[in-house]
Amino acid sequence: MKRILFAVAATLLLGLLSGCGYNTMQANEEAVIAAWGNVESAYQRRNDLIPNLVEVVKGYAKHEADTFKAVTEARARVGSMQLSKEAINDPAALSKFQQNQGELSSALSRLMVVAERYPDLKANQNFLDLQKQLEGTENRINVARERYNATVQVFNTSIRTFPNSLTNSLLLHLKRKEPFKAEEGAKVAPKVKF
């Protein structure tokens, strides 16, 4: 009789272990971290592009010092904040990151508006190429952010639903991750307008 009870208890425990979502939650968190990596590299790509872009525009529009300064400063601010992987667990850090990147975005679009005023610049092949690169990068950022949000949603759901929620509160203590919020005055188009 005792043996039967033991067998039943062991089976139940085994079932609980595989059904408790321990592994699922870990896997989901890894997916969030990987998606975050893509977000960061997409933003980094934009950061690397900016000096070239500013250089080319400067060649044609020498008198727009304020605009250049705004872009350079915004870029410096973004560059100075080193985000570790921990940032995805910290809503404040993420919102700071988003704010800084948003400022850089608007500084960049002002730069592009300035560029619009110089027909010679707009005809410059080098500028056209850089513009395409910037557009592509902005689109990559958009895609990476959307995918990040999707993985965050899966992860957050997985730690909040039963029985995973129980396992998490007892064993894993994983925190809810923050998704990206839509930008101020949410623009549908990811591209820089000219």
């Binding site: 056209l128 395409k132 689109n139 958009n142 895609v143 949410a186």
Partner: protein, 307 residues
Amino acid sequence: MSARYTAVILRQFRTLLIAALLSVGLGLPALALEAPALKGRVNDYGGMLSPEAARTLEKQLAAFEQETTTQVVLLTVPSLEGDVIESFAIRVADAWKIGQKDKGNGVMLILAKKERKIRIEVGTGLQGVLPDITAGQIIRNVMAPSLKAGDNDRGIAAGLSAIMDATKGEFKATPADKKTAKKKKNSPYTLFIVLLVVGVVIVAVVGSSSRTAGTLAGGVALPLAAGVGLGAALWKLGLLAVLGAVAGFLISLLMRLFNASGGGGGSGWGGGPTIFYGGGGGGSSSSDDSFSGGGGDFDGGGASDDY
């Protein structure tokens, strides 16, 4: 004039609504135009190509994949219906998964007829040879002039061949790739064997009750299996009918001996014939020239422009 203003106001209102929805949701794509079904390498939903051009391009792109494993597909749509081409493109990319898995070597050329927009969406494995700059140049310098002049056939063909030229050197089909491609084509052979086995089982079932029925079943089953599975010629089928009948007779004899010695269970196979016909019909129609994405990855790289 006023009609146009109403349209503008309506559009403004729609954008506002989208913005509101966006800020509530998790940045989900607005006014999601659904990804159409992948028909082949040329998906001319916008009706921008002449039938001959579409056929030629389909062949060219198929040959290119044979040679390089790189998948290049064309999609034209009549209208984006308010969607943004970049977000539409990535949605199609996620749905179609053009390019081979782990290589990410897929490229999609997308045209929206009404909005006069082009996008080249480049898979992650090809962004080294086809960077955004090159994609932009292909649109601007290779495609736009012909499209502006109204020569869609030429513009699209030139764009696709520029894409192929740029990506040619990056991946080569290995003998293993070619073998798997060939194996796919030879699938009727395996179909024949499967049909043959099923046929033998049916003959055995039928034959265990009556020798004549078994002979008859054999005479029908063998040529049918050969006809469906291998596409054998008619005169061969006649010969096979005789052969099958003999085999059916022998199997029936064997089954009788088997049953007499006490082995039962033949009656459980009653559902056989329907499986036989159903399986044969389905297999022959779908094993032909089908095309699907290989699981390629996209990250939003590429370029778009108006024409």
